[in-house]
Symmetry: C2
Subunit: 483 residues, 2 copies
């Protein structure tokens, strides 16, 4: 462990992160909304802490190694989650406890979108802008993490895109490969954001809302500047833009990269994960629409369809925007969507959950086991795309799945121990570990009323989900800390 090198990186990171206080500060000055000092103080504090961490070890020359990556990545999200809470702690409206501020910040940065704030429509524009920007930054971080960093560490669904596990070369340096890939991803992410903002603006949003919602759409974040979320606009055009960009952002960014380089949309169609993802969304939307219509939740099939499709894509990709209070729906469509959020987006998207490609692999392996019973002596490979998947990758996906389930169960138990009822606790863990946002029962509308202990547990859930479980859990292994 090169703790000094880690400290140096995190110090630098905080210095850079402090700069992200400047845009909301500018918004605050522009609107004269009274939150200027909160952002100024946050800027100064984060900058100071960053410099104080960095300065003593600035001359430290040793490069980070791959194994240090786990620590850096975990601390990255933790430290920024805490730092990002500062403006919310310093501001007087909303007046949040430290727990609430951290929860909101972590929820933003992990693109979960669970909120403890109500009365958004009356909030200072700079605070609103800040929340949206947090999600956007988080989304950017996730894409880089998923495409460039985690595969090098041997974690994440992207492994499945290679013939063999990247097999973290023990002595490779972290930096160069990341920088190159990150730059390409950055352009795609920016491009999607600009296109989405234009789409929203043309569909009728104000410029402020268009930018803010483009931020949280492309990040699959789900924060909104209105309590009623997307429902505020009551606009089919806006909902259509949202659906399209949620679907895009829930797809693999490496695929966007490929499609863009080859100038061919066929790339999407050739991707097995993408086809399955679209198929699953379509099937779910059809089921939800039918359930809503049959149960007469809405007056006609048209409204059932529009609410059904929007909520299916929004919950299924784990964005978490709402045009309807899906937590008040009949049990079947409500739980169908919550369960769909466990699947979540594709690998290397900004979506949460277990990821489509892992589900696909689990299904294929389940089918293989059935086939093996029938043909016990046959060699039956599990194929993904045109390649057969190696044992090591299959093992990693199983391990991921079981740790996901285990983490879920333990946090579910912990939440019930804080006194939450069974469905509130269940859906809260699901909504946070899947980085979804809105849950069912008491956490359908917001998370304000939960006890503090529950909020901290849910912060952990968001982090575990966002860091693909392994990246965080590996830090708890004693052997990680041995030389």
């Amino acid at each position: 462990m090169k703790l000094l090198a880690v400290q140096k990186v995190l110090g630098l990171l905080l210095v850079v992160f402090s700069a992200t206080m400047l845009p909301p500060l500018a918004v605050s000055l522009l609107y004269r909304d009274g939150a200027t000092l909160a952002f100024l103080w946050a800027f100064a504090t984060i900058l100071a802490v960053g410099l104080l961490s960095w300065a003593p070890v600035a001359r430290h020359q040793r490069e980070l190694r791959l194994r240090d990556g786990f620590l850096v990545v975990a601390l990255f999200w933790t430290v920024l989650g805490l730092g990002g809470a500062l403006p919310l702690v310093f501001s007087s409206d909303p007046s949040l406890s430290i727990t609430d501020a951290v929860f909101e910040s972590m929820s933003g940065l992990t693109t979960t979108g669970a909120t403890v704030i109500t009365g958004l429509d009356d909030l200072a524009p700079s605070i609103l802008y800040y929340r949206q920007q947090l999600q956007w930054l988080g989304g950017m971080g996730i894409v880089v993490l998923a495409v460039a960093v985690l595969p090098m560490l041997g974690v994440g669904g992207m492994q499945l895109y290679r013939a063999e596990i990247p097999g973290p070369m023990k002595d490779a340096k972290l930096t160069p490969r990341i920088t190159e890939t990150a730059k390409a991803l950055w352009y795609i992410y920016l491009g999607l954001t600009v296109a989405c903002a234009l789409g929203y603006r043309l569909a009728g949003m104000s410029a402020f809302d268009a930018v803010g919602h483009a931020f949280s759409t492309v990040a699959i974040g789900g924060f909104s500047t209105h309590d009623a979320s997307m429902g505020y606009f009551s606009s089919a055009a806006i909902e259509a833009v949202a659906v399209v960009f949620m679907l895009f952002s829930g797809a693999n960014f490496a695929l966007h990269f490929l499609a863009w380089r080859r100038r061919s949309p066929l790339v999407y169609w050739h991707d097995e994960e993408f086809r399955f993802y679209l198929g699953l969304m379509t099937l779910s939307a059809a089921l939800v629409t039918t359930a809503l219509a049959v149960s007469e939740t809405y007056l006609d099939w048209g409204e059932s369809l529009s609410k059904g499709v929007f909520q299916t894509v929004s919950i299924g990709t784990t964005a978490g925007f709402t045009t309807a209070n899906y937590y008040t729906w009949p049990p079947f469509p409500a739980i169908l969507l919550l369960l769909l959020s466990f699947v979540g987006g594709c690998a290397a998207s900004t979506g949460g959950g277990i990821k489509v490609i892992r589900l696909l692999l689990l299904i294929k392996q389940g089918i293989r086991e059935v086939q093996r019973l029938i043909h016990p002596n046959a060699q039956i490979p599990v194929r993904m795309g045109n390649r057969s998947v190696t044992h090591r990758v299959v093992d990693a996906v199983w391990g991921f799945f079981s740790l996901y389930v285990a983490s879920f169960v333990l946090m579910y138990l912990a939440l019930t121990a804080t006194g939450l009822d069974l469905m509130t606790a269940f859906s809260a863990v699901a909504a946070c570990i899947n980085n979804l946002g809105p849950g069912l029962a008491d956490v359908g509308p917001h998370y304000q009323s939960l006890p503090d202990a529950a909020k901290w547990i849910l912060c952990l859930a968001m982090l575990l989900g966002r860091l693909e479980i392994f990246t965080l859990l590996v830090l708890f292994a004693p052997s990680f800390w041995r030389n």
Copy 2:
């Protein structure tokens, strides 16, 4: 597929099964309880159907092959579940619909113990006896299935006891190995039952109740002759007997066999699964007791301890007896126990659930994956006992786990579609697929009020759980039916 051979076996099976109507018929005559005709008709019908199935193909000589075993096993439980419903259909008190009668019969035979009957205390003794006997027969069937049949088919946790998967030899005959093993198991099962009945009798039960509860205890069934279940007796001695025999019956019967042959109780201690099983029960009982005491659910620590320990063992082994309405407990202890039922008993016990040894393997593999991230180039075997587990076995366990989860999710969705609320549906599927019995919310006390569709789905859940998922699912694979 040798369908005629299958028909012959099932015909014979029904003929034998018809004989099990005679003991309750005798009880009915003894007590003159008015149910005599119901059992007589059931006896005649089952015998007739059996003979009619068997006679036309009696001269059919071809032996069953291993693959036919899947069909025989699945049909075995299905056909007996339906046949076992007959006395309940024919009897006038209780007056059950066909759905309810099948549900009760299937619940008995799969040793689930979920009931649609209330007012047990006033029921005809022969009907009460019959329900208990159904569980006992089911329990016997399960042990033989798990120890002797499923491993040959390549299904089930017992694989883990061998260095390699039994590797279903394609041309081996089914019969001889089963007969030999089954006989030994039968003595152990009978011995446990007699010992348990004596224990109950000495602890103060009537002879009738002692036999009946011994039947359902050793089978981990959970049916009782009283609405209040074990709570009816209000006796610490009876509860202690129950706890001991539930723990015994939840252990691997192959282990009992070994301990008996070697005349050494150390066999238990040397078994990794058994140690983990006891440890998990102890930990859970401690947590539940503490939660009950801290939440002041009961007046003092003594009562918290007695209710806590009994319910933990009863739900944890998936027996499902109750001395307390655990579904009215605070959320934490209630859901902890429901989740514990997913673990269930040891492999080749009469308990349900995923089985301790599979959980143990999943945990070990999860830990291995974390270790692999830290030491990417190391070969890290997964060990069970003193042996490293083969890839094929690990794959089978993962496949089992994912199909368990998938089956759970689909049936959960289906139940909510019949209109059940989210927690009722969740706990009903859990209680049935784990062959547990009592659930939470609306299915805490009994299953009477569910819609018929829900009851049929739950029958499927009980069967899937009891047949270790694979045995039933394999029949849905088109390649199973090809030559």
